[in-house]
Symmetry: C3
Subunit: 434 residues, 3 copies
């Protein structure tokens, strides 16, 4: 039997925090009231009314009341899951007790909020034994309020070395009879506090990349059936940087990210979904340059590659100071090595359907062909790329499709935007493949 957490959503793209009380505002619940009304691509998979860092320490009791008031009123219509973040600290029993009190209050069924709340987010956890303390408080609260044991999800912010180490213990600890850690849901990296806890320094004060932390979080999530989420990207205007971070995360198996604004939510909701149209890349001195599609051809118009015809079936190719004389076959081979293709949703569905048909016909592996005409300095080159697909390739290719299906099933409020983006036909085929 393989390990399974208790909660439903298989993928979470977005973890959107909003302050629950803001000093000096007339209506201190304004920001969570705005957040709970988000819909479609601007609404996150997981919404986190944040009664920890985003709310000043002196405002947290008011924050807890705002959570109750706003969720009891609007929670039923919110399209994603709702997981308030409450206070916690591995080094402070007083903060942990405050957590318990807020839990008891927010989860009180008479206050009509808990029926719309899927779980809670616990920040600043330490060793696995510290995680168990939070789990135990939630268990007590469930019992006190007549909720089923384990029904409330628990997500944690990994922002200390101890918590990173605990990621390796999850699988072993989650099955034990004296805890309810099967309630675990998201493992969220918190790089600002982690940087402090690790005492790291960078010259500009920017955050270190923390490659290993992200790997370990993703691995811990995979081993224990949980979901890994990267921390906030705080240069909100830097959309390109946010995209690069998400692409890097996705290659680590971390498909979700923290969002600080509805604009970031929108980018993050789309990021792990395949693009509408495929594109060809050319590796130019180690950088991947996207070729412009022009009337069925893919055009490189930069200065760093030069290609000319020097005679019958003879070419001169210059890349990065490296000049070569090639015949047509050699040129094709060379460009094939440098080119790569980013498949669209439609391409992936096509390939999966083709492989499924082959499998039914009794074949274990087939070659998938992808052709294109590249245009470099007015020289046209036909390339054709064969990739062998077997069961393992098929299953690895399936991840973005499974994610797409999970999104489509769980987020009816995004149907319209998805169909607008991809076309209804592709969406329908994507929902039945795999």
């Amino acid at each position: 039997m393989s390990l399974e957490r208790r909660h439903d959503r298989e993928f979470v793209r977005t973890f959107f925090t909003s302050p629950t009380a803001v000093e000096g505002e007339d209506d201190s619940a304004k920001m969570i009231r705005r957040a709970v009304q988000l819909r479609g691509m601007q609404a996150p998979d997981v919404w986190v009314p944040d009664n920890e860092d985003a709310t000043a320490p002196s405002m947290r009791d008011e924050g807890a009341e705002n959570i109750i008031s706003v969720i009891s009123e609007h929670g039923a219509e919110f399209p994603g899951e709702i997981h308030p973040r409450i206070v916690w600290h591995r080094d402070s029993p007083a903060t942990r007790y405050q957590c318990f009190e807020h839990l008891l209050e927010i989860a009180d069924p008479e206050k009509d909020a808990i029926e719309h709340i899927d779980g809670f987010v616990i920040p600043e956890v330490g060793d696995i034994d510290d995680w168990k303390k939070a789990d135990e408080f939630i268990t007590i609260v469930e019992t006190e309020h007549g909720l089923a044991e384990g029904s409330l999800a628990m997500s944690v912010i990994v922002e200390s070395a101890e918590a990173e180490l605990a990621l390796a213990d999850l699988r072993e600890e989650m099955g034990k009879p004296s805890n309810n850690l099967e309630r675990l849901f998201l493992l969220v990296d918190g790089e600002v506090d982690y940087t402090k806890d690790m005492r790291a320094i960078t010259p500009t004060g920017g955050l270190p990349p923390w490659e290993e932390l992200r790997h370990n979080t993703s691995r811990g999530a995979s081993a224990a059936g949980l979901i890994a989420i990267d921390g906030p990207y705080d240069d909100i205007r830097d959309i390109e940087g946010y995209h690069e971070r998400m692409t890097d995360n996705q290659a680590k198996g971390m498909l979700g990210i923290w969002s600080l604004t509805p604009g970031q939510v929108k980018e993050a909701n789309k990021s792990p979904l395949p693009p509408k149209t495929g594109s060809w890349l050319l590796d130019v001195n180690g950088r991947e340059v996207e070729l412009d599609a022009d009337d069925g051809r893919y055009v490189y118009d930069g200065d760093d590659v030069t290609l000319e015809t020097t005679g019958d079936d003879r070419y001169r190719l210059l890349i990065g100071g490296d000049e070569r004389e090639l015949d047509g076959d050699e040129l094709t081979e060379e460009l094939l090595d440098l080119a790569s293709y980013i498949p669209s949703l439609n391409d992936i569905v096509d390939s999966m359907e083709e492989f499924e048909a082959a499998k039914e016909a009794g074949k274990g592996a087939i070659a998938m062909k992808r052709s294109a005409t590249l245009l470099v300095d007015s020289v046209e080159v036909e390339i054709s790329n064969d990739r062998m697909w077997d069961e393992a390739t098929y299953q690895a290719a399936q991840t973005p499709i499974t994610l797409f299906q999970d999104v489509y099933e769980n987020r009816p409020d995004q149907h319209e935007e998805l169909e607008e983006l991809y076309g209804k036909d592709v969406v329908d085929r994507a929902m039945v493949v795999g």
Copy 2:
């Protein structure tokens, strides 16, 4: 007492899989029959008749029979070790039972194959407790068939987050009286399935680099006296890419790699051996460029470095848009910083002999000198590089020599090619040094 696995080979460069049954072929054992007859540099250190992914699910009983038939006939002459891969899955008891049945069948001494088989490869393992289940089946099979307990090696494919975590437990678990995990031999990364298990996505569908997985596998192997092997490189035509991957692996202590063709086996067998001739590299804007040896001088003839004489002992050096005026000493210093040397087998043997002589004469550390004439834009510069060698340097330098010796001792079928490559004299000296 330090931990030791039970099996002989200290280094494994190549892990070559071949299908054991191919649908629609007249003689479905053709590919393993061809593989078992490979010799010399085309023959792997470890040959893996593959009855898992490379063989269609419906053909696996036939695959097991082919393994028995081909190995009983040709196994005695095969120059490397033979480790068939059989089916297994951490999440499927039915697949594990199939593993047990194939084991029982292939290991039956009356079928005359097991005497040529060194062990088995178990894919898709999970936690360490899952590894123990496979170990237990092998123990039962050994007892049933009158083989010594622990005599069959067990190698695993690490292709899940759980298995990666298990790498940290090996050292502690291997000594325990209720298992025979000392039979462990190779830890092999399987990046395609690992990517699926981690739910990672890349835009092109290519594999992520999985730096941490490879480090953790290498570390696990080092801690438990085992051997780490990287997974398959499936762009078979891309020899340069295969070499880069191997160089990267070697810097992680992972000296072996999976091969899919005899051509890849040949490249992989040579890769961790030192080169025949030494070469000088120049760091040009962060890229290492190999200098052309020309009549005792090393020539840079690219466009990215410009050097000219501007007066008596005055030079102008231009690298990467950075122009400097230098005198002769400064120029030498600058080029010395940019240059590095890749020693040949002969160079390494020389240095080790020199250090051994110094040690016998009572010295703990000596300077190793390496000089060269560089030629950049027709300006000649003499550089001379001193490196301090102590016992630790000596021992770290010894790794490629120990590997060479291990290869030479275990693979008589490669003697001729090695002596052709390096010359008999260097080979003889390499065999006695250290």
Copy 3:
């Protein structure tokens, strides 16, 4: 209660080893006699008279005597801590017994050295159980010689895969009643021996980067309240390379490094301290280029960025072969994205004071503004960078200040140099902020 080691120093920048006996020298204690008399920036935070690798095996008894003689004479005046390194090996009981004998000898109060010694450095440790053996010897020595249990610090060199794995066990093991592992102090990476133990190979024989080892050491230190130190950088002349290594380490939370010479000590002592003056960087094709400060403006004078005015509020910007036409606002935005600022000690103190004042006035978050005039190809551009500071930003920014304060308190011999470098006013403010 959070875990605390027993020893005082919160930060260690430098770990300086010197041979304790040199073959053939008239006065074999000459080098440690010179080392113990270092003062100010040339004196390390931790000085390690090295009776292991830096001293020939045949000289180690003499080495131990030299340690006693030099420290009893000069130890009282040495400005840093003193931690001799003695022999140890996880695989050799004979070496471990030699360790015990040297410990007994050096720690004998009648020899007048131990009162100036803060602890010992144990190389070549293995599993955590091996660390406990060394801990136990120190405990026995403490008892034998009437020293308080746990009063001698123990630092280890992490130079094997087993020891790297042990880093994850520290937090759990340190609290146990049957050991005194709370005496642990420094976790020092030893990359030369680690490379040998991992059997890693690089073409030139240079050391691999070992990113994961350094992360795991830093994480282990953070989780257990210890201090992480990187291994030696043996190209002593390569100051730039040493600095790059330290910057890389600091981003991992590893703020200290091994030094082999007083020159390296000086560089390493300064490295984690903020600079005297701030500077602006421009990201040019992925490289960070420092801009020249000139009369209040920051000037880019390289060839890789071209900027010109093409009309009223119209500009042409060319970076890395990428040409864009921009208006003034777009140009500002673009340069703002490419520019980053390295704050000086004074800048950091300013920002912290500003945030502290805001906090007292009841605000949880404020925008920190940083403006500059950039000059690119004679076009002037004003940029202004807002960064949001909250409690977490504040605390992460505090690390270099806390380090500065720790240095200032513990190293009176460096006061003069620090005040010369930064000015007395900034030093005074830095000592009270936070």
